[in-house]
Symmetry: C2
Subunit: 336 residues, 2 copies
């Protein structure tokens, strides 16, 4: 065919080709038409609601190209969008990739980025359905993730009631410590370092979220993306309730001696650190006995109680109470 | 509630509030949960496929803040995404708004932008379902539009066959002339000028697209976003066919004397100008007699024929043929 290929089409073709043999194609059975037309087509399951979420992932704001390996950028941009689906108790189905790139990034950087994205797509069973590409001086990513949940079963932020117990999965502050380590690294961070792993390769708690939704155990749920202090305030506002957290019960990142020396206090990391993508959920008192201590190897900890009074309070070991003010990640307050 | 509101939440709240009384809420009946949770929930109609599309709309690449009125930016970012739904023969349902803004744009600029977006949402019956906001030095917009089409009825790019007639709606090149006028304007362009209207406020051909899909008249369809030369090449590549276009049959923008003086040739504008958001579609010979000359006041013109040979050719009035090479908008080739 003696036709000059259009540059934008060539880039879309490269992305699409890289996903042809992806293990995520299993989930792709619900995608009846992918990249290459005006839009993608998706067949919803009968009796299900569609979960829709979109997430920015921007150079300089959410990642630093000199510090963050492109493979981790690819993994994380999808994983954090899928975490919003986990937070509703849903199952991921497909995603759209909005990608703006400098021409200098359309070679090796793009290949390695697509490698990480493809692994996330396969692991999270979330197939590439479509996207839009354009040229730009900086790398801009916008991911739209699409999931499903049986109608009426989604877990919202607004369902918490007084006396419900507040739970978190995993240990908090691990990703924030990882970010500090990445910032401190001379060049590109090593994905092998266990201290940076949670920051570079977050794992959305899909199985836990779906199990809580299916069993009807949680009254409210959200994922921890901006930090406990910021996100708990959102859950309480949505439910028109308050909370009393017991500081000693919050599972904290295990900080090695070196990190402590650099002034990283596990308590502060756990209270305000972002990017953990653990689940924060509330359980009504009669259902507490049905909740295990851990789920598929991830700890579940009761860290406090929902209150009728709308303040969010933090209780010290000595019983002293203080307001638990949002101090997590807010793009309008601070930069990466 | 004595709690410091988080800045990002305040911005999301402002956006959501601005859509509460929006006329688009009618379409919003299918959105069961909107902004304010981890994700949105959408109830699909039984027996329908979901149409998914995302579109960048970036400062400097797709619009110039000093020249484009924020109201038009709001209208157009949604209208062009919805045009991809029209191009599948579908009906829009809801959209997600990815918006990154400098703090200086969170006041009046944002208000007027949201006004235009709200009018588009109402007119196009496409409800705001959710979104993500962040701070950025430049205005970045990414719209995900979600639509529906009866299962198996979507019109794809890949269905054109030899001897099908090629049609376009409307006049081509109007939006490109509008862009040239906007570029030339001293300050912000006037939305009242009829020459800039099509560039600033494109109208997705939803009714025409749905009618063609419902009646089964078109074998292939797409919208004209990058220009006839670029987009026809895509339709032909997807269908593994070629085309012979008759130049004299292509409905061209009516160029006023002033525009001609500035060197804007209607023929070039019509052949390569982008952003018209008209429909390009092919009709098998037995169905041609069912096609009216115009649909709801928009002209429908047969401009050529699909061929088995895979070249795309342009035929002059004197019968001379030449290759019709893609020379429309390509973000990797040129800038706004």
């Amino acid at each position: 065919m003696p036709r000059k290929q259009q540059n934008e089409d060539a880039l879309l073709g490269k992305i699409w080709d890289s996903f042809r043999s992806s293990p995520g194609r299993g989930a792709g059975r619900s995608v009846s038409l992918g990249i290459g037309d005006d839009a993608a087509l998706f067949c919803p399951k009968h009796g299900h609601e569609i979960i829709l979420t979109c997430d920015w992932f921007l150079e300089g704001t959410h990642f630093l190209p000199k510090k963050h390996p492109p493979d981790a950028v690819g993994w994380k941009c999808l994983a954090r969008a899928v975490s919003d689906i986990a937070a509703m108790g849903g199952a991921p189905r497909c995603f759209l990739l909005g990608l703006a790139l400098p021409e200098t990034r359309t070679g090796r950087w793009l290949d390695v980025f697509l490698g990480g994205l493809r692994r996330a797509s396969g692991k999270l069973q979330c197939a590439l359905a479509g996207g839009d590409t354009t040229r730009r001086d900086e790398i801009l990513i916008n991911i739209t993730a699409v999931g499903e949940v049986p109608a009426g079963r989604a877990l919202l932020r607004s369902g918490a009631r007084a006396d419900d117990l507040i739970y978190v999965s995993g240990r908090l502050g691990e990703a924030e410590l990882g970010l500090q380590m990445v910032r401190r690294s001379a060049g590109t961070a090593s994905p092998q370092d266990p201290l940076t792993r949670k920051h570079l390769y977050p794992q959305p708690r899909l199985a836990l979220g779906q199990w809580l939704a299916k069993k009807g155990l949680a009254s409210a749920m959200m994922d921890l993306s901006d930090g406990l202090s910021s996100d708990l305030a959102r859950l309480c506002a949505a439910s028109a309730v308050g909370a009393r957290l017991e500081k000693r019960k919050i599972p904290q990142v295990r900080t090695p001696h070196l990190a402590l020396k650099h002034g990283h206090h596990p308590e502060q990391l756990a209270l305000h650190g972002g990017d953990d993508y653990e689940l924060l959920f509330t359980v009504p008192p009669p259902k507490i006995k049905l909740l295990p201590k851990s789920f598929q190897g991830v700890g579940l900890a009761a860290i406090g109680k929902i209150t009728r009074e709308r303040d969010v309070l933090l209780v010290e070991e000595n019983g002293r109470e203080s307001p638990f003010t949002p101090a997590g990640w807010d793009p309008f307050r601070k930069r990466l």
